[in-house]
């Protein structure tokens, strides 16, 4: 198994391997997005309490899940940077940090928009939203550190260390915010706990999340591939690739 990873962790192989993968990913992603949008906006029945404003869940919850998933992916590449010194992981870490930040931002904005019809205020210090806000600052911290260091290798290693410190802190922040939230407002069911929702409502949620995952993979592959070309700019295979005229875009 390790042989497989080692083979594909050489940048050149990964570049051409991901090139073959790209068309499949894009077609599946487009199909899923259209299906999930149809499911979310049309076929899912309106919620008896919140009416149609409930449909925001199909955008808010997948983004929130993805923001956490991307940070876990960053943690994995951070470990492989520090422990196994995988060059591809250094590139992956710097490539996916902004993607995670956008998902977190989307989750925050949609969360506060959803809060307006439900509680009448644009921002509610709900435990889940507050942890999401702290997660955004963890992302911005990693991005700021990556920008502050011009040397790519030490930059990736320093950002990996910060990312691992962040990973350890995510559960701590989550539970301390829960504690703080229930302490001040009493133990109410968190507004965002989706009650055991009807199967028709659940399917679009899952397919939308899978679509978001595909989106994440596609965008990070684009960013990783262009970073690989810059990283191996001195090598022969990049020279041949660039000088061959047919290569217009990645």
């Amino acid at each position: 198994m390790f042989k497989f990873f080692y083979h594909y962790s050489s940048l050149r192989n990964f570049y051409f391997f991901s090139e073959k993968l790209m068309p499949f990913l894009i077609t599946i992603f487009l199909g899923l997005i259209i299906y999930s949008l149809y499911g979310a906006l049309i076929s899912a029945p309106a919620d008896y309490q919140q009416g149609d404003s409930f449909r925001i869940i199909y955008v808010h919850v997948p983004s929130a899940w993805m923001s956490l998933l991307v940070y876990m992916a960053m943690g994995l590449s951070a470990v492989s940077v520090l422990v196994w010194r995988v060059k591809l992981a250094e590139i992956t870490l710097s490539a996916i940090a902004p993607i995670g930040a956008t998902f977190t931002l989307a989750a925050l904005v949609t969360g506060s928009i959803w809060g307006k019809p439900m509680w009448g205020t644009w921002w509610e210090w709900d435990a889940r939203l507050t942890s999401e806000l702290v997660l955004l600052f963890l992302y911005l911290g990693v991005i700021a550190l990556l920008r502050a260091i011009d040397d790519r290798r030490t930059g990736a290693r320093s950002a990996s260390i910060l990312c691992l410190i962040g990973i350890v802190n995510i559960p701590i922040v989550h539970y301390s915010v829960e504690w703080w939230n229930t302490l001040h407002q009493g133990p109410t069911v968190s507004k965002f706990d989706s009650p055991s929702i009807h199967i028709d409502m659940l399917i679009p949620l899952l397919t939308m999340t899978v679509a978001f995952m595909l989106y994440f993979i596609i965008i990070s592959l684009y960013r990783i591939r262009s970073a690989i070309l810059v990283y191996d700019k001195e090598t022969q295979w990049v020279k041949d690739l660039i000088t061959s005229s047919k290569r217009e875009q990645i």
Partner: protein, 228 residues
């Protein structure tokens, strides 16, 4: 290869050297203390002079001021050692970097954590905190400031020598201080309402134990990375 020197002894030597170094340059010692007092003084101007109002916020105010004052002192933890090459000499001397990370955190705590805890007494009384919750405040500050020093040292080691490292270290470190702030401030405000805040103090102690075991590793690899 000499290994007779016991780790505790090396740790003591490292801490003594850092404290002595900063003590000689005593200007750096004053910044956290003055910052802590000034920030705490600002609140009565902003909120209201009556101690009744201030008392209800006192725990939170003091904790925020202490937290900010300690993160101010994080910048020049490694700065002078890094620029003078002393950090490089220490790394090349073969001493285990875990000890260096731990020693830096202890030195930072002694130089900025301790004065803040001592100064918190008069400030807390001026904000109208009664003696029982003052004791809780001091206990929570002790535990919390040690955790802040440990995490702050790792983040400081990560951003040493970078452009505007001072601001960077504060921006990077504050999200990690949120849990400490929550439990610290809640412990004090609970004690003001007569409750015994055991749970919060246990959490703070738990956080301290976690950071003592984990952060030296992060500091060690951060130092080695930054020197690379």
């Amino acid at each position: 290869m000499r290994t007779d020197r016991s780790n505790w002894n090396t740790l003591f030597i490292l801490v003594r050297r850092d404290v002595l170094k900063t003590w000689r340059e005593s200007a750096d010692l004053l910044y956290p203390i003055m910052f802590f007092v000034l920030v705490t003084i600002l609140f009565p101007f902003a909120l209201s002079p009556e101690t009744l109002v201030l008392r209800s916020f006192a725990g939170g105010l003091l904790w925020i001021a202490a937290l900010l004052a300690m993160s101010v002192s994080l910048e020049n933890l490694f700065k002078t050692d890094y620029s003078s090459g002393a950090l490089e000499a220490i790394v090349l001397s073969g001493v285990s970097l875990l000890l260096v990370g731990l020693a830096k955190a202890i030195a930072n705590w002694v130089l900025s954590g301790l004065p803040i805890i001592i100064l918190a007494i008069p400030l807390a009384l001026s904000l109208g905190i009664d003696t029982f919750s003052l004791s809780i405040l001091l206990l929570s500050l002790t535990l919390g400031s040690a955790t802040i020093s440990l995490i702050g040292t790792s983040i400081g080691a990560l951003s040493v020598g970078l452009r505007s490292a001072g601001m960077l270290v504060i921006v990077l470190a504050l999200p990690f201080f949120i849990p400490i702030l929550i439990f610290g401030a809640v412990a004090t405000s609970n004690s003001q309402t007569g409750l015994i805040p055991e749970a919060e103090l246990y959490f703070l102690a738990g956080l301290l134990v976690l950071t003592v075991t984990l952060t030296p590793w992060a500091t060690a690899s951060a130092i080695r990375t930054r020197l690379g």
